[in-house]
Amino acid sequence: MDLQVNLPVFSGPFALLFHLIEKAEVDIYEISIAEITSQYLQALKEMQELNLEIAAEFLVMAATLLKLKSKKLLPETVEVTAETGEEEILVIDSREELVQRLLEYRYFRDVAAELRRCEAAQKRVYIRSLGGKALLVNPDEEITLAGVTLPALLEAFQRLLAERERQPQEIAPDDLSVQDKMQAILKAVRGKKDGMDFRELFPPQAGISEIITTFIALLELIRLRKIVVWQSGPFGRLLVMRKSRAERGSRSAWK
């Protein structure tokens, strides 16, 4: 089959009609129903020969055009009943109405062409779409916890807790909040150039509840990037220090 189809795929009967009007270089207000009808039927025939699937609406339009044409040939008084059985999509009763509908369709066809231009322009613009990965774009993330891994930190905490659990329990004051502890830790590490020992954060008299609160406060501060915890060597002490100071320090030495 010849693939040189000069009939593009039409989005609807109005699109086909426009194609024909433009091809014939006729002003839309000047169209002759007789001519456009014969051209339209010819186009449908070609489409059929090319085995293109022809939507029902194209046939309804053909019937509508034939109706308009016959109406023109008949005296005004004769009622034409070109029953199409289709819905009211294409009820067109006069040449004027057809022109009107064509104009309206043309307007939106032109808008669609404008949108096509917008689509093409926007296709050349890319945004990042990494989703949740964006959270990890901070490469300092590992360094913040680095020197110390979370397991190391948790193990230290576990050891501490196990030690203290063996000691006699006292009633812990219940009004200790994580917020308070966060402030306390920040205050404790302030001015300590080389950081302070992780264990110093947990006074000997502290009960389980306070230890847990302190630990959570520590995690919160790490999360908020206010402090970092470093380990001086594989089995060394855990050092807690303010983030800003740590930033200024030679980071690579800890890698």
Partner: protein, 168 residues
């Protein structure tokens, strides 16, 4: 950190355009200060030696590549953005955008064809949404466009739709 670098970071990581109100909420800054900083950022990125731009889409702001970089970016992401809307979908969207809220029958009478399946596709792509029901016999569904529609076509808002002379 000042407000401008914070905005820059937010416009970088966001997947959705961020409206100034949201940016103010996130940074804790005044909306007015946010708008000012956005203007400044926009200006800075507009320089010819920058490969990115601050775009305003669907009422929000976001960082994006400049069109001039598209060829190079596409080399990195071959095959992406190959999706294009069909002519039928585009015509239907055009009618909904300008006539919203609009019923299916109104769209069909303009296009001269049934649009059931096109509407379904557009709804799936989230370009259109049900905007209510018409106060008419049968209470037919009314359609309107979405933010996704604006984003896809790179539009700030509906007022940015191409202004053509009205039909007739």
């Amino acid at each position: 950190m000042e407000i401008k670098p914070l905005l820059e970071a937010l416009l970088f990581v966001t997947e959705e355009p961020l409206p100034p109100a949201k940016l103010a909420e996130l940074t804790g800054a005044e909306k007015k200060a946010v708008r000012l900083a956005l203007k400044q950022l926009q200006k800075e990125y507009a320089a010819a030696d920058r490969g990115l731009q601050v775009v305003e889409l669907a009422g929000g702001f976001q960082l994006a590549t400049k069109p001039e970089a598209a060829a190079v970016v596409e080399k990195l992401y071959t095959g992406e953005k190959s999706f294009t809307l069909s002519q039928a979908a585009l015509e239907t969207l055009a009618i909904i955008a300008y006539r919203q809220p609009v019923t299916r029958v109104e769209i069909e009478s303009i296009r001269g064809v049934k649009v059931d399946s096109v509407l379904e596709t557009l709804q799936k792509r989230r370009f259109i949404r049900v905007a209510g029901r018409k106060d008419a016999p049968g209470r037919p569904v009314l359609y309107g466009t979405t933010k996704e529609f604006l984003k896809y076509f790179g539009l700030k808002d509906l007022s940015e739709l191409p202004q053509l002379a009205s039909p007739k």
